[in-house]
């Protein structure tokens, strides 16, 4: 009897330890980013760092303003959401409620594949197809722009939005839909007036998840956005928070390198905020 108990406790201990490993990594990254990110912010001054519109890290008189990166990340993410959410949302309603079994299988498979494509491949296709296309279509000297990045991001966030929305829509009790149909509402009316409102917290969670994916993406946007530290313009070359860190890290030193850590810290805070929002919606959709 006693031995059994000891074994149980031992296994519990192992599981607890493994669980704590994950927590440990999160803590480690947080602490490291804060420690590494604070010095440059101190030296540059937080207002100057966040709101100066000039980033010239290698100039003889360097300037470390990251407002262009913050705004580019915000605009880029917003643009991706504006394009991606309607497409993803309607696709999820179609797949969860309307699609015949065969079409559903094919489209769901394609969505899963889309989720599995490495971001560098998105970037490559964007670079070879999208960027020249934009250049020709809009008659601008270079197609590598915020606009190109928005389109790539919009496609990249589709799988998260579609999958999470489908889960939310499928969790709507069949009884709600039956009640609506029995009142003489058509199936499409039923889905939009009963199923979607009933799933709204889950769908909101899907959108927030999409925001998180978009704001954290680096590789694909670096390849299509031109990467110049300008204030964002739809058809101008821009640099995101993520790409600002990635593009200078390899050759940076001194304050410049410290400032890159500070950028990472700002990005990290954005992600934390988004995660808090995500947890809020997920919790509400469970209730």
């Amino acid at each position: 009897m006693k031995k059994q108990r000891a074994f149980e406790d031992f296994v519990h201990g192992i599981f607890l330890f493994l669980g704590l490993v994950t927590v440990g990594f999160v803590l480690l990254i947080t602490v490291y980013l804060v420690i590494a990110g604070i010095p440059a912010i101190r030296e540059i001054g937080i207002l100057n760092f966040l709101f100066n519109i000039k980033w010239a890290s290698t100039a003889s008189e360097p300037s470390y303003g990251i407002l262009p990166f913050i705004l580019t990340s915000v605009y880029g993410t917003a643009g991706a959401i504006i394009l991606g959410v309607p497409v993803g949302f309607l696709t999820s309603v179609y797949l969860a409620k309307l699609a015949p079994e065969k079409i559903r299988t094919v489209v769901s498979g394609a969505v899963s594949l889309l989720a599995g494509i490495p971001s560098v491949v998105y970037g490559l296709v964007g670079m070879m197809v999208l960027v020249p296309g934009i250049r020709r279509l809009f008659h601008i000297p270079d197609g590598a722009s915020l606009f190109a990045a928005i389109i790539v991001l919009a496609i990249m966030i589709l799988p998260s939005i579609i999958n999470v929305s489908i889960t939310a829509l499928e969790a709507v009790p069949r009884e709600y839909e039956d009640a609506s149909l029995a009142l003489g509402a058509t199936p499409v009316e039923t889905y939009f007036r009963v199923s979607v409102p009933a799933a709204k917290s889950g769908i909101a969670a899907a959108v927030v998840l999409g925001v998180g994916r978009a704001i954290g993406e680096a590789m694909a946007v670096m390849m299509v956005s031109g990467n110049a530290p300008n204030m964002p313009e739809l058809f101008g070359s821009v640099r995101f928070l993520t790409t600002a860190v990635a593009s200078e890290m390899s050759y940076s030193s001194g304050l410049q390198r410290q400032a890159l850590f500070s950028i990472a810290l700002v990005l990290f805070l954005f992600i934390m905020l988004i995660n808090a929002a995500l947890n809020f919606f997920l919790k509400r959709s469970k209730e």
Binding site: D178, S180, A182, L183, G184, A185, P197
Partner: protein, 251 residues
């Protein structure tokens, strides 16, 4: 008495399994008809055929004829949504929408094109009064309907069904999930409603059938064994199987 629904030689299959066999049944207007029988006998299936809710289940095949006010409900040009507006339904488990009491009742009328706020207000009030729940919840119209008790939710669902002005109300064991007090309220309500509506209710509760129904139909293994005045069915059934069932020998 006028017969509002006439069923002739109705057969229904779920895939290869036959769930209804040669059912013939005429339902008189403004009465309560109880459908009784053991589980799986086809009474719920029959009920859901009347407003074509069975259409939603894949692999259902139906033969025979159902006339509603002389119109074949399976005819090609029948608008199923209008049919379901005429023949409303209340489900076994109370299923209010996760929205306010007001929006629950207004859902049906809005679906059928009523937008005027004043008209909707009237309909909501009248429906809740008809469902004998107005006094209890008139101050909570803006509250979420899921906060009501089970019995209140079921009467709300009845009010919601009434709000689209149906002629017939189908009820699928409307009290089986409720406590005795809520059950007796719903039964009382049914007795009032038959002044204006034709009610067809599935019930497992024999006493309930006796208490509220004018006609009783006894189903067994997809067959309609016996149909007639409730009084006669329960005091002097014509078929031995009916007698065995109502005296509790099986089921």
């Amino acid at each position: 008495m006028n017969e509002i629904i006439k069923v002739t030689d109705l057969n229904l299959w779920y895939g290869a399994a036959q769930a209804l066999r040669h059912v013939n049944l005429n339902i008189p207007e403004k009465t309560i008809t109880a459908l009784i029988g053991p589980s799986g006998c086809g009474k719920s299936t029959f009920l859901k055929t009347l407003n074509r809710m069975n259409d939603l289940i894949p692999n259902v095949r139906i033969s025979g004829e159902i006339l509603y006010k002389g119109q074949d409900i399976f005819a090609r040009d029948v608008d199923v949504n209008l049919l379901r507006k005429e023949i409303g339904m209340v489900f076994q488990k109370p299923n209010p929408f996760p929205m306010s009491v007001y929006d629950n009742i207004a859902y049906g009328p809005r679906t059928h094109g009523i937008k005027s706020r004043a008209r909707l207000d009237d309909i909501v009030e009248q429906s809740l009064k008809d469902a004998a729940i107005w006094d209890e919840i008139k101050n909570r119209l803006k509250k979420n309907a899921l906060g009501l008790s089970g019995g209140q939710q079921q009467r709300l669902c009845i009010a919601r069904a009434l709000a689209v002005e149906p002629q017939v109300l189908l009820m699928d064991e409307p009290t089986s999930a409720l406590d005795p007090i809520s059950t007796s309220k719903i039964e009382e309500l049914c007795m009032q409603l038959k002044e204006k509506y034709t009610i067809i209710t599935v019930t497992h509760n024999m006493q309930q059938a006796v208490r509220i129904s004018d006609k009783t139909a006894f189903f067994l293994l997809g067959e309609l064994v016996e149909f007639g005045d409730t009084e006669k069915i329960f005091s002097n059934p014509a078929d031995k199987r009916t007698e065995d069932y109502i005296t509790g020998r099986f089921g």
